[in-house]
Symmetry: C2
Amino acid sequence: MTAGKSSIAGEWQAAGTSYFHSVDPRTRKAGETRFYSATAQEIDAAVRAAADAFAATRLFPASTLADFLDTSAEEIEAAADSLVVTADAETALGSVRLTGELARTTGQLRAFSALLREGSHVAAVIDTALPQRTPLPRPDVRRMLLPLGPVAVFSASNFPFAFSTAGGDSAAALAAGCPVVVKGHPGHPATSERFAHAINAAVSACGFPPGFFSLLQGDGHDVGRRLVEHPLLEAVGFTGSLQGGRALHDLAAQRPRPIPVFAEMGSINPVVITAAALAERGAEIVQGLAASATLGAGQFCTNPGLVLLPESEEARTFIADYRDAMLGIEAGILLNAAVESGLTRSVGRSASLEGVRSHTRENANRTDGFCYPHTVLETDAATFLENPDLQEEHFGPVTLFVACSGDEELDRVLRSLAGQLTGSIHCGSEEGESLQPLLDTLRERVGRLIWNGYPTGVEVTAAMQHGGPWPATNAAGTTSVGTNAIRRFLRPVAWQDVPDELLPEALRNGNPLGILRQVNSDFTREPIA
Amino acid sequence: MTAGKSSIAGEWQAAGTSYFHSVDPRTRKAGETRFYSATAQEIDAAVRAAADAFAATRLFPASTLADFLDTSAEEIEAAADSLVVTADAETALGSVRLTGELARTTGQLRAFSALLREGSHVAAVIDTALPQRTPLPRPDVRRMLLPLGPVAVFSASNFPFAFSTAGGDSAAALAAGCPVVVKGHPGHPATSERFAHAINAAVSACGFPPGFFSLLQGDGHDVGRRLVEHPLLEAVGFTGSLQGGRALHDLAAQRPRPIPVFAEMGSINPVVITAAALAERGAEIVQGLAASATLGAGQFCTNPGLVLLPESEEARTFIADYRDAMLGIEAGILLNAAVESGLTRSVGRSASLEGVRSHTRENANRTDGFCYPHTVLETDAATFLENPDLQEEHFGPVTLFVACSGDEELDRVLRSLAGQLTGSIHCGSEEGESLQPLLDTLRERVGRLIWNGYPTGVEVTAAMQHGGPWPATNAAGTTSVGTNAIRRFLRPVAWQDVPDELLPEALRNGNPLGILRQVNSDFTREPIA
């Protein structure tokens, strides 16, 4: 039933000899299916087919692309039961979480479909001619966004649906009209294969060129490297580790013709808890924070890995209670051996630093599968400031507390932070406005500020910003969640003095699409007289 | 009167020992003033002062930044006569052109000021909370754009005003609230110094922190390299050669913490002339094209360097007439020795290729200053397709004609083109719609499509796109001309569940700035109830 092949423009191929297996995280046992890494020829064929497909799809009206996204969502829903079972076997994320993630995935596709049908995402700007202007007449200039071309999407391990084969990056690129070549994550190849069947079915049902979507299976770095170096590729979307994202960033920047990489590389997501918050809601925050830190076994880019609080008796009680709460929650199954060994390495390094204290033990609440005990570390601000390594992500259920002697030290710690996806503040009911300076400092370091809440749970809305300064991402000007993500795969083009009938519909005088446009500075849906 | 120093946060400094002179392009003679290259300490001080200034300016309301831009424009205008005289002595561009360029420069500053006062450039998006949503309530999420931080701007040789010290890149960054450190072009250091006086006066008059603007003088690569590698720098704007842009792109990408570079690196700006256009308007196009190709001695990024036309008797006549027109125009003075030697080298290489014919002679219409004769080259499509080197820019008054045997060969040539800032089509009065496929092919290669017009003359409007795929730029998703250029120096941040009084004004319920916002999908200026 599972072929173990790559899908190259709708054809299942496996001409290579190198293969890998998917592993059941609950038993650490490899399955029987051989998944063959795509060969250089298969990679080349996928990107060439994508470039061929683009010759057609770049001219598709937004409504045609929207139909495709809707059909994809339907095909995914039709395969929902099988997808959840398959992904659970490969990721151990559980059917409740995966059912929710599937809904998010189809929701993302439909959010982009709605965006396309509304149509204003092309950001049409029109400045009409001023033939009487002196010394020279002003020409008619009209600008809108167009798709970039073939996009490579690297699947994430921790979101086998929502940031994998037909996840956020793919949805944004496909919505833009860009053909997508997915590099499937080796942690869930059977899930990727099932998703590819669904997307291929949508390609077929909508009469799209088959090169609009391909899936390349592969472990190791060769498949990804060849893909990013392909001369016909135009952009890359990536969600994963800093090491992986940096490698792709460097590869793409060093090409003879550099292309953009949009890499989301994780964070430690600082959470500030004020003295008043500890006093008013300490117990409530213990529960909320522990739930956020252990969600999905802590394997979220937005996992709250760093908590800053005052040096106080209340804080010591808070940390002790938090430790108890963490140990009271059963440790989850981790995605794969690499996450487990990564935690052993990264936590081991942090805990061994002078001035860092572990409140938990390495052998606490283990299970048979890939697992790492819920871990609570604590240090003081001086140690944190002296050891930039403490800012490296512990990808999993690990929380590092940093006690700060006062506002000034807290400020120093916040300013020392590298870029983050999120920053959260928990405060007391009376101290809102006094925290403006703190909020202003934190906003320079993050993509999203959260007030009296937790960073996990990223809404897929137009207002969402999932990004942030390096090393959270390498493209702080863009988002990887929410409908604004489509912007990463579009570029502006201006038409000067081009006759109305030769303009794209979005730019024509009559505004046949009825979209919002900026015409001679005013935002309007009116036609141009 | 000219100090020959760098302006570091308002202080004129020259602690170094390495210096250079500005050269009069009309006489090839160096002036007496020693311009000292900024030292490593001066570069560091400028970026540190910029980072310090940013701590204040990042919170400035848009109206305060707009006041600064208006004041800068006034200070520049107050120094206009001196600026034009100084720049003419350093660039030989002439007072008519420079007076026009000065107006463009102050116009750019005021266009950004108007954008700031209108306020919608922050792209506010608001999705209000849905507390009743199941299974989980939806939080309130609000998103807007914030400035990146200190920006380095590299001046262009060919626009001593409009793309130099207070030119387009600086205006866009300053408008965003980003402090700017300018690396002055060594071709016009006295002009840069005078501009810095004007901007410093505006900084002072507006009570801005002095680190908001610095000018670093320097020849060679050291000053630029040190600037781009400075850990506190956040972004780079550059206008210049492919070689220079690529070097900065690589430097910035290889930093421990990569930062974005926005490099505009020139083009050959293909012009397609159809048989019908030759027949109907051949003589008119000869004059228009020759005027465009020799404007500013051909030293424009948008200079029409490549002309594609049919193989025909009419085309041969056109080329002969064009040669006569070019030779009938007096050769202009070039900016500097590097432009002159660059032309000798690049034209020499192209003309020596088998299949390339020169219609002009190297010793035609010379002058005493830096100069290169107006040059007309011709080749066939097969030669052009076989020699990618023919796509390299001849920066100056050089036109390469490529005769194509028919639509199919023209299509092949267009598809072979690297990215361009512009692409132009001249057609007959009856053939508009039949050229849709040509227009569709060309749009994939360019940032701006021009119909029956010439690429020189870039309007500074909201609809302008001055950019394009590599190697025209390294950031095809952005523009370097027009008010949308501000986007390069902004990044989105989202606020989740933050109380109204702690939100930036642009995101508050009452919409006190009265800006256009996207609220729960609708575009509106209304407050939120």
